[in-house]
């Protein structure tokens, strides 16, 4: 990357002093550092509980619906792409796929592209949470609770016939709901914040190539939440 490119990509609102990063962005990075520690503690505890458990651990595929969650994972990754598109649209001042008509002015293209990609991110994020709610309802129906397996349920039969280990199902339920629940909470917060930015800033044309701090900051958060999910999906559903 040449020096010139760096200058073009750099937000045109340099800070007066301190690091060359504006406060909200630096604050978001610091916040994410603390989020990393939060999820590290969560995932680390899960590893200790699962691999330190005296008995066998249930094979996730028997309890959880992996294909549905795989699709959900794909959706969430897509939402990271749409988030980048929203960011790139406003940062580059390019329509990014969306040209209203040949010869449309740059500002028109930028405006429509940003609205489109932000809305897409919000909708995909909301869909992710909805599918997760559906997954929870389904699991509770089948008998998985935070305290273990409900008596007389479908999963209780699997425990009875030895398909699922009786000894560790309590920990399985506790850790599953806590870990995926906290992630879902983070996605929900992200969707709400983005909806706020969409209605109060994007629709009112507050973002421009000169100032797109909100988009950049929420984008950092969104990619982080996405990344955490990839780790959670791997360790909770796949392994």
């Amino acid at each position: 990357m040449t020096h010139a490119t760096v200058d073009v990509m750099r937000p045109p609102y340099p800070t007066e002093r301190g690091l060359d990063v504006y406060n909200t962005k630096l604050g978001m990075w610091v916040f994410l550092a603390s989020e990393v520690m939060f999820f590290t503690a969560l995932i680390g505890s899960y590893i200790i509980l699962r691999f330190g458990a005296p008995g066998e651990w249930a094979r996730p595929g028997i309890v959880l619906n992996i294909p549905v969650t795989a699709i959900n994972t794909f959706l969430l990754i897509c939402s990271s792409v749409t988030m980048v598109k929203a960011y790139a649209t406003v940062a580059d001042g390019e329509g990014h796929f969306f040209r209203l008509r040949p010869g449309a002015r740059l500002s028109e293209r930028l405006d429509f592209g940003l609205k489109f990609w932000m809305l897409a991110t919000i909708i995909i994020g909301a869909t992710f949470v909805s599918i997760q709610v559906y997954e929870y309802l389904h699991l509770v129906h089948r008998g998985l609770l935070p305290s273990g397996v409900r008596e007389g349920s479908e999963l209780a039969e699997l425990v009875a016939n030895g398909t699922l280990p009786a000894a560790t199902m309590g920990l399985f339920g506790s850790s599953f709901y806590t870990m995926t629940g906290f992630h879902g909470f983070h996605v929900t917060c992200g969707v709400i914040s983005m909806a706020y930015l969409y209605f109060t800033k994007t629709l009112r044309g507050k973002y421009s190539q000169q100032d797109y701090r909100g988009i950049e900051t929420i984008g950092l958060y969104w990619h982080f939440v996405d990344l955490v999910w990839i780790i959670l999906f791997t360790i909770v559903y796949l392994i």
């Binding site: 002093r17 505890s45 273990g148 920990l171």
Partner: protein, 619 residues
């Protein structure tokens, strides 16, 4: 630099004649870091007195063998709340009071990076502290047999003692929910101060020109934002276990028995440095000023502070030698624990070398700073003696550990904070504290604390366990315990002298000039107390000691008394307080098993945040 005043948050243009805002509303809605600093100070000082009273009751109970002042159950609540209060409600927020008041002044800023988040931190701290302490009085509401349902499982609340099965009452509920509220306050302050220190420095204030106190604040806040999430996870697990029947700490369900201990101490050891590093920073400011010498080896002091921050993450299992982690685990943690003494020792030598050959003025602040060094050395040495697993096995859960923690936290942190109070009080209030009363305060504290805590080494080595509400005469520690109690009463007297000093000098103390001590850092270049906007002109810094004449630099000129141009000062805001109010309501929901309270709390929180986000608030 002019802004149009917005209707929701009227922006004040602080011009020479602008009076300070007055009245209760101006304090409740304030976003001024100086006012928030004072709020932190007074609130934390009240909690300090409360925690001190709890300690006095403990000492009176133990003054004689077979004491019967309080019951065993009350005693459990007393030592739990004494530890929790002193750590989370007194020492951390007293440091926070200096972070708030002094750091923006030291780095040459007009306020912190996120003023409303700062107010939010304070209100959450206040409400969390009140929530936790409400447990002393609300027993009847929970149909408990006693007035008090205060937490009673020790400040490190080992699971599974804290599980519903073994602690059925609301006691631990208060603890697990209260600490989560307080964690939010610390985290919010952490984000704020890291951004402030990194981004709001005056022109020319490079990182290696940052005053030592600001540097140690930065390291502390990095520890806060990384350590508090870990205890949050531990508390969340416990909360889910207690309220939703989860199995994280239920050993019968296959859980690892020492998961809580690992999570707690993974937080708990960095927390020790969160408590001591600010005091180290204060001492590193006080000594150079009163020795009239630059801090010896500034760079080394800073780097050793950073190193302590990093190494603080690698020593937590030394709290768990008695668990039996095996020879490899024990050896590794013994080695790292001995290693962390190195950067600490480096600092001590730097402080002593700062005094060496200086033109020393024996002010009260200097007395406390030197007292800090001496007592911290003793506490540090007993700490190193825990680093050896075989020795530690003898010391675990005895009064020897109580002696150690009080030498580092009382002899260290509290004395460091008192040094800071005597040093910066004139800047914060415009009045100097009385030096004669101050010296009396120091000597009473110094003698009292040694009388209290030194015998505890012997009591512990003679075999008296901690957290036992009484002991038999045949143990032979009666005289030592009585000595300790007399010392505790002496500390009580010393605190009364200090309160007398605060009250006496409020109206009658000598008026403080801009710079009563001849300090080198920027906070001394502006009036005491500073105007709302701090600096009439943001200074440009050219070296590490901007206000001192050195071989290479002339001292900078102080900012003019009257600002040459109007300065925009953000107005106050209600919404941090409203948002903070949602948290205790939210915590009441599981405590009382009332679902609608959860919705109410979330609604209040969301409403506060929503209005906050929509409020025009220009920096």
């Amino acid at each position: 630099m002019s802004h149009v005043a917005a209707s929701a948050a009227p922006a004040a243009f602080a011009f020479p004649a602008t009076p300070r805002p007055r009245g209760l509303k101006s304090w409740v809605t304030t976003t001024d870091h100086k006012r928030i600093g004072l709020l932190y100070f007074w609130t934390a000082f009240c909690f300090f007195l409360l925690g001190g009273l709890e300690a006095l009751v403990i000492r009176l109970q133990l003054a004689q063998p077979d004491g019967h002042l309080v019951s065993a159950a009350t005693y459990n609540q007393l030592f739990t709340m004494h530890g929790t209060t002193m750590i989370f409600l007194a020492l951390m927020p007293l440091s926070a009071s200096f972070f708030n008041y002094i750091v923006p002044l030291q780095i040459g800023a007009r306020d912190v990076a996120f003023p409303r988040l700062n107010a939010f931190s304070y209100w959450v701290f206040l409400l969390g502290g009140l929530f936790l302490n409400a447990s002393w009085l609300v027993g009847p509401l929970f149909h408990a047999g006693s007035l008090s349902v205060a937490p009673d499982a020790g400040w490190f609340g080992y699971a599974n003692l804290t599980e519903r099965q073994f602690s059925p009452g609301p006691n631990i509920d208060f603890w697990v929910l209260g600490l989560q509220i307080l964690g939010i306050s610390s985290l919010a302050a952490g984000f704020n101060f890291i951004v402030t220190i990194l981004n709001m420095r005056a022109p020319g204030m490079k990182m290696m020109r940052l005053p030592t106190f600001s540097w140690m604040t930065l390291v502390t806040q990095f520890l806060v934002i990384t350590a508090f999430p870990v205890i949050t996870v531990a508390l969340v697990f416990l909360m889910f276990d207690r309220f939703f029947g989860a199995h994280f700490y239920v050993v019968q369900a296959g859980a690892t028995p020492i998961l809580w201990q690992h999570l707690f101490w993974l937080f708990g050891h960095p927390e020790v440095y969160i408590l001591i590093l600010p005091a180290m920073g204060i001492v590193s400011e006080v000594l150079p000023t009163f020795a009239r010498k630059p801090l010896f080896g500034y760079t080394v002091v800073v780097y050793s502070g950073v190193l302590i921050g990093f190494m603080g993450w690698g020593v937590w299992s030394h709290h768990m030698f008695a668990v039996g982690l095996g020879p490899i685990g024990d050896s590794v943690f013994a080695a790292t624990t001995m290693l962390i003494a190195v950067p600490t020792g480096v600092k001590i030598f730097n402080w002593i070398a700062t005094l060496w050959g200086g033109a020393i003025r024996g002010t009260t602040a200097l007395h406390f700073a030197v007292g800090f060094i001496a007592m911290f050395i003793i506490g540090g040495l007993s700490g190193v003696s825990h680093a050896s697993p075989p020795a530690d096995l003898q010391q675990t859960d005895t009064y020897y550990v109580v002696a150690h923690i009080h030498y580092v936290l009382f002899g260290g942190t509290v004395q460091g904070l008192f040094a800071g109070i005597y040093y910066w009080w004139p800047k914060m209030t415009g009045r100097l504290l009385d030096e004669r009363l101050g010296k009396l305060h120091f000597w009473l504290t110094f003698i009292g604390m040694n009388l209290t805590f030194f015998p505890m080494h012997l009591i512990g080595l003679l075999g008296m366990p901690r957290r036992i509400y009484t002991y038999g005469p045949e143990l032979g520690v009666g005289a030592l315990n009585l000595t300790s109690t007399i010392g505790a009463l002496l500390i009580g007297v010393s605190v009364l002298v200090f309160i007398g000093n605060l009250l006496r000098t409020r109206k009658r103390g000598a008026i403080a000039p801009n710079d009563p001590w001849g300090g080198a850092t920027l906070e001394w270049s502006i009036p005491s107390p500073p105007p709302v906007y701090n600096f009439s002109v943001i200074p440009t810094v050219e070296n590490r000691l901007p206000r001192w004449k050195t071989e290479l630099h002339e001292p900078i000129t102080d900012p003019p008394a009257v600002p040459p141009a109007p300065i925009h000062v953000p107005g106050g805001s209600w919404w941090p307080l409203v948002a903070a109010l949602g948290l205790p309501v939210l915590a009441l929901a599981p405590l009382t098993h009332t679902l609608w309270l959860a919705f109410l709390g979330a609604a209040i929180l969301l409403f506060g945040v929503y209005r906050w986000a929509f409020e025009p608030f220009e920096m």
